[in-house]
Symmetry: none
Subunit: 222 residues, 2 copies
């Protein structure tokens, strides 16, 4: 039976007191882990990270002086993609969470989290690669939908009729208007009319503008 390696952790947070507190909590919930180093911010991390000190997981703050969490995770992705990042931050802004998730962090915890959940998160990340709470998932799903609900507001969409929507989808391609006309069983001149109508309704001046509008407001998917 394989000997379980101790979990190697590193902490990046500019608040020394919080860092020390976090370490003592980790020791309590996880009896087989090792803190390989602590850093005050991204710059400090770059200095302290080398072949001997590569951790499995880095617990990372977002707001830090000199080099913040976003820049640090980007740098880690480029230079040490194997290291997993668990964000531990006060920041609950949806945009920040989504931005971090886009950067590929494996979890995102609020600093007021229960010690046990911290342990769960670390184990889950080691075990299955990530730990996303309902809170994070909720934010994520909400941010996905935000785009669509914004759209409803956006005028042009309601003004379009079904044929025009069909045409718009086809216009977001490399077909010429003649080919679109053929596909829709309509005269090219009718297509001309649809285009003119949509230019007016969507407030665009070219087919490129129209196509980008359609993508922006989710009327066609790429």
């Amino acid at each position: 039976m394989p000997i379980k390696q101790p979990m190697r952790l590193a902490l990046v947070d500019d608040h020394t007191l919080f860092r020390k507190g976090l370490i003592s909590l980790i020791k309590m919930v996880c009896n087989d882990c090792e803190i390989v180093f602590e850093a005050d911010n991204g710059n400090d991390l770059q200095l302290k990270l080398n072949k001997q000190t590569i951790p499995d997981i880095i617990l990372m703050d977002v707001n830090m002086p000199f080099m913040d969490g976003f820049a640090t995770v980007e740098w880690l992705n480029k230079n040490y993609p194997q290291i997993k990042v668990l964000v531990v931050s006060m920041i609950t802004k949806e945009d920040s969470i989504v931005r971090m998730l886009k950067l590929g962090v494996k979890g995102y915890l609020c600093k007021d989290v229960e010690p046990n959940e911290l342990g769960d998160a670390l184990n889950a990340i080691m075990d299955k690669g990530f730990y996303y709470t309902d809170f994070i998932t909720g934010k994520l799903v909400h941010s996905l939908q935000k785009i669509d609900t914004q759209n409803e507001k956006h005028s042009g969409i309601r003004l379009m009729n079904d044929r025009e929507k069909d045409f718009l989808k086809l216009a977001c391609s490399e077909l010429t208007y003649n080919q679109i006309a053929a596909q829709m069983y309509l005269s090219p001149k009718t297509i001309d009319g649809y285009r003119d109508a949509l230019f007016d309704k969507l407030q665009v001046k070219s087919r490129v503008g129209m196509a980008l509008y359609a993508v922006k407001y989710g009327l066609v998917q790429l």
Copy 2:
């Protein structure tokens, strides 16, 4: 103390046998729920749904004849936004899952799910409004990151030089090539050359195709 209302459910799935099986499972895991109706597809749902038959949750398939899950959820969002949708589908394609989540479905289960999890999902949706499994969350987070990692794969991007990238950004607008040339302090003929080069490198045949490529692979943001 308030009397707990029974959970009102409806099923939309074109496979009668699966529907019936699902109902018997629901009866087993949930002793206080009522099936208000079943439908074969979205069209059928529209006929069967009225003031007397408004369910709390609709269990919805994705692939259905005549009117599929996407169209049906869109219609529900417009006409009965209070009804929560739980997708129960064989489809595990990331794009389908993300598209459904964008439409605001409250959960997404695979058809091979354990009966107990079905019960958990229904209760979670009634209780806190949603039920997203790790599988779904994983797909979601992955799709967020995909755009960036896909780029690396997609050849065209590496082949472009800086001037061509600048041009590409400007081409994703309603400027004519002459106007772009002026903005870049270049001859329109040089712009012609950039366009021809990019058409070749990105494998597109028109400015629309080029603009959509740029958006798809995150080279320009809308």
